[in-house]
């Protein structure tokens, strides 16, 4: 993401730990307090940085909350690497997925009804608060013909749906399971 608080610098949190994310959250809130409340309003600024005084919650209060309870919401970094079976098609060979940070690649072959099918996917992993989407392109080869198109993999790590990937692409609709 582009960090608006820090002049639009590009920051990728993908490899950060929860503690590192929480620390940046706290430091950024302190910065916002200093930028929003003038130094002359010392009590208001101090309350903003700390626990909010008698009438509100401050940066420290928010930090304490995520520090103590954030693990309930924290999602492990998405890791799609591995072999994924095609749900509902026991004859179909598994998809092989590799991942290097945000770059995800997949390769698969058609099932019993599509012996000549070969699929290849390359995409970028984008983690959102509610889920993870891997946007990219698919190359399908069938009977010597190749087609290229856009394709997405929907992934929900850190939830009860962690072991499922929904595939949405041209001529490709599948649900994968570990």
């Amino acid at each position: 993401m582009r960090d608006a608080l820090h002049g639009g610098a590009v920051v990728d949190f993908f490899t950060w730990t929860k503690a590192e994310v929480d620390r940046k959250f706290f430091e950024d809130m302190i910065l916002i307090c200093e930028r929003t409340i003038p130094a002359s309003a010392a009590t208001a600024r101090a309350n903003c940085k700390a626990t909010g005084g008698n009438f509100s919650t401050g940066a420290r209060s928010r930090f304490n909350f995520v520090d103590r309870f954030g693990s309930l919401f924290w999602k492990d970094r998405p890791n799609a690497r591995g072999l994924w079976a095609v749900k509902g098609d026991a004859a179909a060979p598994s998809w092989a997925i590799t991942q290097s940070l945000r770059t995800v690649k997949a390769a698969w072959r058609g099932g019993a009804g599509q012996p000549g099918l070969r699929g290849e996917f390359r995409g970028t992993l984008i983690s959102r608060d509610q889920d993870t989407v891997i946007r990219g392109f698919v190359r399908l080869t069938r009977d010597g013909e190749t087609k290229l198109g856009a394709m997405s993999l929907l992934f929900t790590p850190g939830t009860v749906l962690a072991d499922k990937i929904v595939v949405l692409g041209p001529d490709v609709r599948a649900t994968l399971a570990r």
């Binding site: 993401m1 950024d28 208001a44 959102r128 190749t146």
Partner: protein
């Protein structure tokens, strides 16, 4: 010299104008059979051979009419089969055609079905650049609240601070923590 060039272009243009198709090239069938096809105007010739390169090989001469090819083939010696006959095909586009009927040795036409694809059309396309992972924060974060990522303000985004801990009427400052 100039006149010769003009005459050549004129003759070539006249022949090419008779059909919209451009079929010349190497082709591969859905059954794996291979074909080298040459087109000149509406005239088509090809040399085709079986996928195993042993069962058969033939030469074909035919013409294009509309989106159809029709003509005669003759198997070459030196292979397992020695037939002659008629073939018709339906052109789909410059990259694809389907054999529709085959009549062998004077017999009745039988259904073809093999689909041929020009090799140059099936060459793998280059991968496009991957989508950028750098996105507006509103597209990935939900701020100080639950639910899906959005730019909408959430209940916990803002707080108001009085410049006094004992006077509730002291000057208030509202702070938006969304960017954190």
């Amino acid at each position: 010299m100039v006149m010769l060039a003009v005459a050549f272009v004129s003759a070539g243009g006249s022949a090419a104008a008779q059909t919209i198709w451009n079929l010349t090239g190497d082709w591969r069938g859905s059954a794996g059979n291979l074909m080298q096809l040459r087109q000149s105007g509406t005239m088509v010739t090809w040399f085709a051979r079986s996928a195993d390169t042993k069962e058969w090989a033939h030469d074909f001469t035919g013409v294009i009419s509309g989106n159809s090819i029709s003509g005669a083939f003759q198997d070459r010696p030196g292979y397992q089969l020695h037939n002659r006959g008629l073939i018709t095909a339906r052109i789909i586009d410059d990259c694809h055609f389907v054999i529709t009927t085959v009549a062998v040795n004077g017999g009745s036409p039988t259904d073809g079905g093999e689909k041929f694809t020009k090799t140059s059309c099936s060459a793998p396309q280059a991968w496009p650049a991957l989508p950028d992972a750098l996105l507006p924060i509103a597209s990935v974060a939900n701020g100080c609240g639950g639910g899906e990522a959005s730019a909408q303000g959430k209940f916990g985004d803002t707080s108001t601070y009085r410049d006094s801990n004992i006077n509730p009427a002291a000057k208030a400052y509202t702070v938006n923590f969304r960017e954190a």
